[in-house]
């Protein structure tokens, strides 16, 4: 397998992984937003491909997905959007299994993985595809040199953790709390514990679910994370832009500013001598 681009993105210090839903509120806006997030210091883009039944998402991202679907986002439009992105960081496709499974002429993950690789996707996060059901997807990703990122939850048992780590490339997605995505005011107290369990795993660990500020990013990195994953906090900004009819550039500026705050916060979480 080729060297993981995603893994490489974690090498320059604590990484910022930024999520937005593709097509929220339009494909054009998403392009600008992603570029702004990268300008703000994003190291990995997690681009959501909207599915009608997003069971792992909280209200914020559910609404974003709804806006994107209403604006006509489809798997093909998503791949076009990825092709047109002018960023030099890896892009991870975050979606639900049914869309991957249905794509192309034959049911199964192969065709979408191939098309995604061709469009420039570096890996996948599929929240409703636990490791038990991941064999065909894992094989397809391996064949096309893509990473399959697994989510480690607070409830994950040691046996399950082991089998996930066997298949994880890129990074491990550490779910910081029970429940669904959504910005929270505080970092879950379980985060240090969750990271400790992964101490010996030879793969970068990024914490997500609830992070929304530079301070929280600092705290998470100080607990030993190699990166932070942020979604709902950006989507709140996008939703505000939709509600108040703000121009794309105004929203993009705010996204860039938040990304910069998060990235700076994450850096502050490193012990003094390691900061650059």
């Amino acid at each position: 397998m080729t060297r993981s681009e995603i893994r490489a993105a974690f090498e320059g210090g604590p990484a910022l992984v930024s999520y937005v839903a593709a097509g929220d509120p339009s494909a054009e806006a998403t392009k600008e937003y992603v570029e702004a997030l990268v300008d703000g210091g994003t190291d990995v883009v997690e681009l959501g491909l909207p599915f009608s039944e997003p069971v792992a998402e909280g209200t914020t991202i559910q609404n974003a997905i709804k806006r994107a679907l209403e604006a006509g986002m489809t798997p093909d439009a998503y791949l076009d959007l990825v092709r047109e992105l002018d960023v030099d960081v890896p892009v991870v496709c975050m979606t639900y299994y049914n869309l991957i499974y249905q794509y192309g002429s034959e049911p199964g993950p192969e065709e979408f993985v191939e098309a995604a690789a061709e469009a420039g996707i570096s890996g996948f996060v599929v929240p409703d595809l636990p490791v038990n059901e991941s064999e065909p997807m894992y094989e397809a990703c391996r064949e096309h040199g893509l990473d399959l990122v697994f989510i480690v939850a607070p409830t994950t048992t040691p046996e399950r953790l082991e089998s996930m780590l066997d298949r994880t490339t890129g990074f491990v997605y550490v779910q910081g709390r029970l429940g669904t995505t959504g910005a929270r005011d505080e970092v879950s107290e379980n985060t240090p514990e969750a990271l400790e369990r992964l101490q010996d795993a030879d793969v970068p660990k990024a914490v997500g679910f609830g992070i929304s500020s530079g301070d929280q990013a600092r705290e998470v990195v100080a607990s030993g994370a190699d990166g932070v994953i942020v979604g709902s906090a950006y989507v709140d900004i996008i939703a505000d832009g939709v509600e108040n009819d703000l121009p794309i550039e105004a929203v993009a500026d705010r996204l860039e500013a938040l990304a910069a705050e998060l990235k700076a916060g994450a850096r502050k979480g490193l012990p003094e001598p390691e900061r650059k």
């Binding site: 039944e53 639900y96 929240p127 989510i151 939850a153 089998s163």
Partner: protein, 451 residues
């Protein structure tokens, strides 16, 4: 954790139980996987293994609290109308007024045995929510129910019943506000509170072990049907007819006729099939395959069988007849979806059938040719509602009315058994309104009351 369940854990478990051919499985967020595995383990031990006398306890409670066995009634007037013998399996007479109690009582009791402290459930028609609220009151468990806003509005009596049993009812405003959205929301609650909460799913859908477990709790229906048929008809019926939304009354009515593959063999290879285990304590001879009994699953044809893929809307809920294979709510099964894999909004005049998916075992049995999927439309269901009410003195649920309606086109010689999965009191508002709006044959005029 037992040795048994260890084998179903981790990366070697592509061959795990819970696959019905290619259908089934466990497609849920990781945060739920340990709960699903714990439940699979509890299912093996308590339900299949009768550990601590769980099944004996269940059987006694479903008799004493639930009122089982329910009768198999000869429908004399319908038999005269059709020229063959029609029998009705009377799940409308089960406590609460629908088959849903079999499963709700089984699962809430199992949650107790597992040491869970809180119950969540979704409901479409409100029957499952009512049954769950009832079982929770009876077994002293706190309970929260999610229900789509559309369904709250069309099933008000059941909303009140849930509240009267002290359950919280949370309306869900997303999407079309029906069962699909209620399931999504309940999964989110479960993911947040998974450590002490059990999700009582309302049909043979969801991740393993739900489809198998719910079927087993519901299999008391066909277990009784077989014994009663032998006693009252002196033979097995020519056909069993049941409506299919998610498919729990369907699988309950079919299970004892399908026969049983040893579910354990399913763990040995991906070709294994976890069909129809038998609930401990079933009478001898029930659950033996009965290949000459036709099994007809009646889906909601709605107003038309088409799917408007551009609009993302199906004016029906006929996923067995018209759906395609995909992954939703924890399982691979037949779904109403666009070519791209977006799930479409379904429709039925009956809230309990209004769902874009169906149980994976039914999907499998249809592919195998063991179950025949058929459908009737909204109008036919409404007509059947009035027919059964007028001619037999039984007000059927709108869901069950679909099964009754299929008799109009049935071409065999009988005898047939129709599963009357529930009673229709909850549906009166809808039926009166829809019958007037559509000019349904045989509908009484209600105007006299409106002066």
């Amino acid at each position: 954790m037992s040795e048994e369940s260890k084998r179903t854990t981790g990366a070697q478990s592509e061959t795990q139980a819970g696959k019905f051919g290619a259908y089934g499985g466990q497609y849920v967020p990781e945060v739920l996987m340990p709960a699903v595995e714990e439940l699979a383990d509890a299912y093996e031990r308590y339900v299949l293994g009768n550990e601590d006398g769980f099944v004996d306890d269940f059987r006694q409670r479903i008799r004493e609290f639930g009122g089982r066995p329910t009768p198999l009634s000869h429908a004399e007037n319908l038999s005269g109308r059709y020229g063959f013998d029609v029998y009705l399996k009377r799940e409308d007479l089960l406590h609460g007024g629908a088959h849903k109690l079999n499963n709700a009582l089984g699962q809430v009791l199992l949650a107790k045995y597992m040491g869970k402290e809180r119950i969540v459930a979704e409901t479409g028609a409100g029957q499952h929510g009512t049954a769950t609220a009832m079982a929770c009151a009876y077994l002293d468990m706190p309970c929260e129910i999610y229900m789509g806003r559309t369904d709250v509005n069309r099933q008000r009596p059941n909303v009140f019943r849930m509240r009267i049993h002290d359950a919280e009812v949370n309306p869900v405003d997303v999407g079309s506000g029906t069962l699909k959205e209620a399931i999504n929301e309940t999964m989110r609650d479960w993911a947040t509170n998974v450590e002490d909460t059990h999700y009582v799913i309302g049909s043979v859908v969801g991740p393993h072990p739900f489809p198998a477990m719910v079927r087993d709790f519901q299999s008391v229906i066909s277990e009784e049907m077989r014994v009663q048929s032998e006693d009252q008809l002196g033979r097995l019926p020519e056909a069993v007819i049941a409506c299919a939304g998610g498919g729990s009354n369907t699988m309950g009515a079919f299970a004892a006729f399908v026969g049983r593959a040893d579910h354990r063999s399913a763990e040995q290879g991906s070709g294994g099939v976890a069909t129809s285990a038998r609930l401990p304590g079933a009478p001898e001879g029930t659950h033996e395959p009965a290949a000459d009994v036709d099994l007809l699953a009646v889906e909601a044809g709605g107003s038309s069988l088409g799917v408007d893929k551009a609009e993302g809307y199906a004016p029906n809920s006929a996923s067995l007849s018209t759906g395609t294979e995909g992954v939703l709510h924890g399982a691979r099964t037949k779904l109403l979806q666009t070519e791209e894999g977006q799930i479409v909004e379904s429709h039925s005049v009956s809230a309990g059938l209004d769902y874009a998916g169906v149980g994976p075992e039914l999907a499998y049995l249809v592919d195998e040719g063991r179950v025949e999927p058929v459908n009737v439309d909204d109008d036919a269901a409404l007509e059947a509602f009035h027919r059964l009410s007028r001619e037999e003195g039984i007000i059927p649920a709108l869901e069950s009315s679909h099964a009754v309606a299929y008799l109009e086109g049935y071409e065999g010689d009988g005898p047939v058994v129709v599963n009357v999965s529930g009673r229709g009191d909850k549906d009166l508002d809808t039926v009166i309104e829809e019958s007037a709006a559509r000019d349904i044959a045989g509908a009484p005029t209600m105007e006299v009351f409106e002066e």
